[in-house]
Symmetry: C2
DNA sequence: TCCTTATTGCAAAATATTTGCATTAAGTAT
DNA sequence: ATACTTAATGCAAATATTTTGCAATAAGGA
């Protein structure tokens, strides 16, 4: 199986975006995260090699190129690796620790599609996020 | 059936919040809207009788009191009337005109509940929004 | 290695949200 | 109706967040 970083290079070429230190770092940060991250978190996690301005701009261009994917959660914009790295899915997220698990359910996708149609809309997309508390956080009674 | 404005008064008393011109106006603006609104939209719609600072604070207190409900949509915070006025539901929204239709489906609620459990989380909530293009916007070919 | 131009960094502008504090007024008691 | 208590407001200013202009830098093809 292909390395994700190889796919990154391919995708960047496909999108005719230059592969820079800044962009590669954003890619690695998201690759290593167990959950989608906000711009602020990406900036904080990065070594500080790149300016926050540049992170804003890079996240924007990478997202437009489909290399990243916007995950609107609550009132925050989070980002994760895009379709080429991770197929379409949704998230079940622990409210305590923030860790999130991918959810993919074909029935669910169909259901949302049909529900949209039943309201008279021609479906273009959906947002779907589940929240709860994970076992680990439930067990640790140390509030 | 009870007038919504009467319910508003009741709810305000229950929450021990004072009924002010500002708060009543926010209530009316949301009552008359065919979709959830952002703070900015509420401020713009209000006659300008109240300062934007006050709208921020009122929306905050009304939301905490459950009189309004936060509708996280995409990267925006939208607000609509809360449970006492409108029972739990989700939205199907037209991407062109922004109008939204309430969706309530018991099966869907159950499904989300079970899906959450199946990931190992103890369910606490969910986010669910459908998007599409409505018939009216599809018909008007005037891009 | 050279060349073109996309990308970056910095500073500053534009936007969005929050806070401190004196003033106003809602709701209760008199 | 009047007085009183204190929540709520308005204003100014502080913070926070995101965007933009522009000169300097560096990615990638020639």
């Amino acid at each position: 199986m292909q390395e994700l970083s190889q796919i990154f290079d391919q995708e960047m070429r496909r999108a005719r975006l230059r592969i820079t230190r800044n962009r590669r770092e954003i890619f690695y940060i998201l690759k290593n995260s167990n959950r989608p991250l906000s711009i602020k978190e990406i900036i904080k996690t990065s070594k500080g090699d790149s300016s926050f301005t540049s992170v804003y701009r890079s996240v924007d261009s990478l997202t437009h190129a489909g290399i990243l994917r916007l995950v609107p959660r609550g009132f925050k914009n989070l980002y994760e690796l895009g379709e080429a790295f991770r197929p379409h899915h949704h998230h079940a997220t622990c409210e305590k620790c923030g860790e999130s698990v991918a959810v993919h359910d074909a029935d669910l996708e169909k259901m949302m599609h049909h529900l949209t149609i039943s309201t008279g809309l021609k479906p273009t997309g959906h947002q779907f996020e589940l929240f709860g508390v994970c076992r680990r956080c439930r067990d640790s009674k140390d509030l």
